[in-house]
Structure formats: C-alpha cells, structure tokens
C-alpha cells in the first residue's frame, strides 16, 4: 500500500515537472502524434496500396502502437537523467520505496503516451479512419496500444538503469544532431535528438 502511495507521489512529481515544460507536452502529446499520422497517411501512404481496406484504417493501429512503444524512450531518458542527478541521493536516503522512482516515471509517461494516442485517434478520424468494431472493442484496442507502451516502458527502464542510455548520443560529436545536443538544455530537445540519433548509423553504438 505504501509502495503504491509512493508511486502516486513520484508519478505526480513527474507529471508536474512535465507540465512545467510546455515544450515537452506540446511535442510529445500534440505535434509528434499529428506529424506521424499525417506523414504516414499522406507522404508515404500515397505510394502504398493495401487491398481490401482503406489505407488509413490499415495504418493507424500500427502507428498507435509504434508511438506508444517509442514512449519508452522518453522513460529511458528521463530515468537516466534522474538517476544521474544528485537528487537520487536524497531519494535513496528517504524511507520511500525505491521501486517507486521507476514506477512513478513509467506511470507518468504512460499518461502522456495515452494522451498522445488519443490525439492520434482523433487526427486519424478527421482524415477518414474508422473503427470497424463496437465501441467497447474500439476502447479495448486503444487500451491495448497504451498497454503495449506501458510494457515497453519497463524494458526501456531496465535498459536505462543498466546502460545509462543517453551517453552515446551525448558522446557522438561527429553526428549532425550533436550540435543540437550540446545546446539541448531541455530534456525534450534531448529526446528529439535521440530520436534522430537512433536512426543515424554513425551514432548507433
């Protein structure tokens, strides 16, 4: 019970922090989901023909899961930042559940990723996406996408704790995103940068 309460406190802290950084909310919850849907639907979608089903109906579930899963990256980065911070010494010397540092992070990130999924569904419906089943089935589908993100967040958290993830990105002085990194004062920029780094073979280490 007390563990759950600690998770609630830590999740609250993370949500509060994120709300203080409107860029984060703006990018993670609004801009990125909208861009993903529009990008795949119109830029790439024009070149692909899926027989028997409209392309947006085929596309959206995949993009939903993809975005929710990428949310794990946010978890990994934020957690690494947290664990490197002197703040952890304070937390570890408190009579709190240590698990709640990780779980509180994941709960908060799942909330953001759920909001992002909501935005994507809304944008998708604006451009023609429709659920084929009943309302409960539709809700279950959305819940499944969010749950997938939640599950991957734990994997990402494990990687963050074991490998201290953002290092390769910061260390990659040769990559085009490094300039961005060096200026990155907000974690949200670092996140963007990491998204870039991931796809750049020069920095894949």
């Amino acid at each position: 019970m007390t563990t759950l309460f600690d998770v609630y406190l830590m999740a609250g802290r993370n949500v509060r922090k994120a709300l203080r950084t409107p860029q984060f909310i703006l990018v993670e919850v609004l801009i990125q989901p909208v861009i993903f849907v529009l990008l795949f639907a119109f830029v790439f979608g024009g070149a692909i023909h899926v027989p028997g089903v409209s392309y947006i109906d085929f596309l959206l579930p995949g993009v939903l899961v993809q975005t929710a899963t990428f949310g794990g990256l946010n978890t990994a980065i934020a957690l690494t930042e947290d664990l490197r911070n002197g703040l952890m010494d304070r937390f570890w010397s408190l009579p709190m559940s240590r698990f709640s540092v990780v779980a509180g992070r994941i709960v908060a990130d799942t909330l953001f990723s759920a909001a992002g999924v909501g935005v994507m569904v809304a944008v998708g419906m604006l451009i023609g996406f429709r659920f084929h089943g009943t309302v409960p089935q539709a809700l279950a589908a959305i819940a499944l996408a969010i749950a997938t993100g939640f599950a991957f967040a734990w994997v990402a958290a494990l990687l963050a704790v074991v490998f201290k993830l953002p290092k390769p990105c910061k260390a990659s002085a040769s990559s085009p995103c490094s300039r961005w990194c060096s200026r990155a004062r907000h974690s949200c920029q670092l996140r963007r940068c990491l998204h870039g780094c991931r796809s750049s073979p020069a920095t894949a280490r």
């Binding site: 922090k17 703040l87 010494d89 937390f91 570890w92 010397s93 408190l94 009579p95 709190m96």
Partner: protein, 314 residues
C-alpha cells in the same frame, strides 16, 4: 548517554583503495560532531554509508540504534542528508520539493505543507518558495537543500561539507540553524575541510585521514595536542637567518622560516620579552611580532603530517 551513531571497524574499498580503513567512532546524542579531513580522507564515504546510500565492506554502523545494512528503512526514517551538491528537483518549486519529501516521510499533506513553510521561513526562502529551484542562486539552492534535509524531522542530520558555495551571511545562518537543531535534540554530523568551521560549531571532533581516525576529542584537546604558543616575527629577508639563530635558544622545537615570518614554538607568554631582547641583541629589526596559539588548521596539518601545499593549476 545514548549514542546517535556507533561505528565499529568500518571498512570500505573502492577498486582496491581503502576509503575507510577500520573506523571506530561513537557519537552521543544531541551534539554537533565534526568530522574533519582533507579531500579523499573518507568523510563522504562515511556519510554515505551512514545514510544507507552505500554498504560497507565490513564492520558495523548503527544510526539511532538501527543497523545501516540490516535495518536501512528504520535508519532512513530517522536521518536527514545534505550532500555537497544541492539535491533538489530543479523543475519544482522549493515548496513542492519540501512537501514531496515530507510526504515520502509519511507526513499528511497538511502537515507536510505546514512544516515546509516553517522550514522555508527558517532558511529565509519564503519569498522564493513558489519559484522553480532552477531560478535560484547558488546560495539559495544550498539553503533550500538544507531545508529539504530537515523536511523529514530527522533525529540525526548529516551535513557533508555544507558551507561549500555559501556566502558568509549564509554560513552564519547555517551555523545558527545547526545550533537551533541541536537545542531541539537533533544530532548533527558535520564534515568539513575547515577547522575553523568545525571549531565554531562542534563540541567533539574526529580527524580522518586515509580512511582512519587519527585524532579525536574536543576542539581544545586537539589544539593542546599540537603544542602551546609560538612566536611569529616578521623580519627582512636578509636578517631572517640572524633571527632564527637568536630565537633558537628559547625555542621548544625547531625554528622555521615560513614565507616572510620566523616562527618559533615557545613555552608561554613570558618568552616574548626574552625573544625581543635576543632579537635586539642580534641586531634584527622587528617588523611585526606576534604571540599565537596554534589554529586548528595548523593542528590539522600537523596531525595529517602534511606540509601546506599550494595547488598549482596546470
């Protein structure tokens, strides 16, 4: 008298280097205990073990009667920690930081909030309490950090080099706060590299060097250990050799030349007159003459058997 902290044969190695090499220490309740030592002496390692952040390799440590390894949660309930760097959430306000810590200490929302504002008033941060910590100056951060370490109403408070980065006014405020804490029955373990600071606050001192306690006692005990008075004479460089020769007969030990001073350990105040006569007879012009007690810094250098070193930045 019950003991707030008890340490027996505590050892900790980092990659083959002994950070703590068999430390024994007992600290009674309700005092300020000063832990002195140069960089790398093991002070922070000791505090981190006592604060349950790292485990000792061997030996035992008890805080408030609880073992730091076997009963860490109980230890955590009774301690507060201020490290060398401010451990605060930069994105949150000082108020939010303090309330969060209070709540993690199982205080009710209302209690945590009331207590947070009391502490913020104590450290003089009421006006800034609702601003994110990232907007604070270095001194404000340290004060907020100190308040944070008190948010859990600790019985034992660890202050690891707490005056690093504090301006003189904040230093005084810190001293005042420490005294008040001790009056309320809190035990404070203060680490420092500065004798003066420990001398001002602590009633007991232990000197740590290379992971061992090399001396302990009250500040007066330690000063006594380093010997009595000494005379320091400022003379021109040409006459310093003559001054050394003139003072040698009355000195209790070696007469040394330190920068522009000739320093001679002597028995007591009476030797001043003798010294002046001898210097006059030797034809030495006295620029300045002083009778001094050793400062704790000198005690410290003597105990750690180190020559004062000027660090040269390459």
């Amino acid at each position: 008298m019950s003991q707030a902290i008890r340490i027996e044969e505590l050892r900790k190695n980092f990659g083959g280097t002994a950070a703590l090499d068999g430390v024994d220490l007992a600290i009674e309740e309700g005092i300020v205990f000063g832990l002195l030592g140069p960089n790398g002496a093991g002070k922070t390692t000791m505090v981190r073990i006592l604060a349950t952040l790292i485990r000792p390799d061997s030996g035992r440590a008890m805080v408030s009667g609880h073992d730091v390894v076997n009963d860490a949660p109980a230890v955590r309930r009774s301690i507060g920690l201020t490290g060398q760097y401010a451990a605060l959430d930069e994105a949150l306000t000082a108020e939010e930081n303090l309330v969060l810590i209070g709540r993690l200490h199982r205080q009710s929302a209302r209690e945590a909030k009331t207590h947070a504002w009391e502490l913020l008033a104590t450290v003089g941060l009421e006006d800034a309490a609702r601003r994110p910590v990232r907007t604070y100056s270095g001194g404000m951060r340290r004060r907020a950090d100190l308040a944070a370490s008190l948010a859990g109403r600790p019985k034992v408070l660890f202050l690891d080099e707490p005056t690093t980065g504090l301006d003189p006014a904040s230093r005084l405020a810190l001293s005042e706060l420490v005294r008040r804490m001790v009056n309320d029955g809190t035990t404070v373990l203060l680490t420092s590299q500065y004798m003066e600071e420990v001398d001002r606050l602590a009633s007991r001192i232990a000197v740590l060097d290379h992971g061992r306690v090399i001396a302990g006692g009250t500040p007066a005990d330690l000063k006594a250990k380093a010997g009595g008075h000494y005379i320091a004479v400022k003379v021109t460089p040409e006459s310093s050799a003559a001054a050394v020769a003139a003072l040698a007969p009355i000195a209790r030990g070696e007469v040394r030349i330190e920068v522009d001073e000739v320093v001679a350990p002597v028995d007591g105040g009476d030797s001043v007159i003798d010294a002046v006569r001898r210097l006059e007879a030797a034809g030495v012009t006295i620029d300045e003459l002083a009778l001094r007690r050793p400062t704790l810094d000198e005690v410290f250098l003597r105990l750690t058997a180190r020559e004062p070193v000027l660090e040269v930045v390459a």
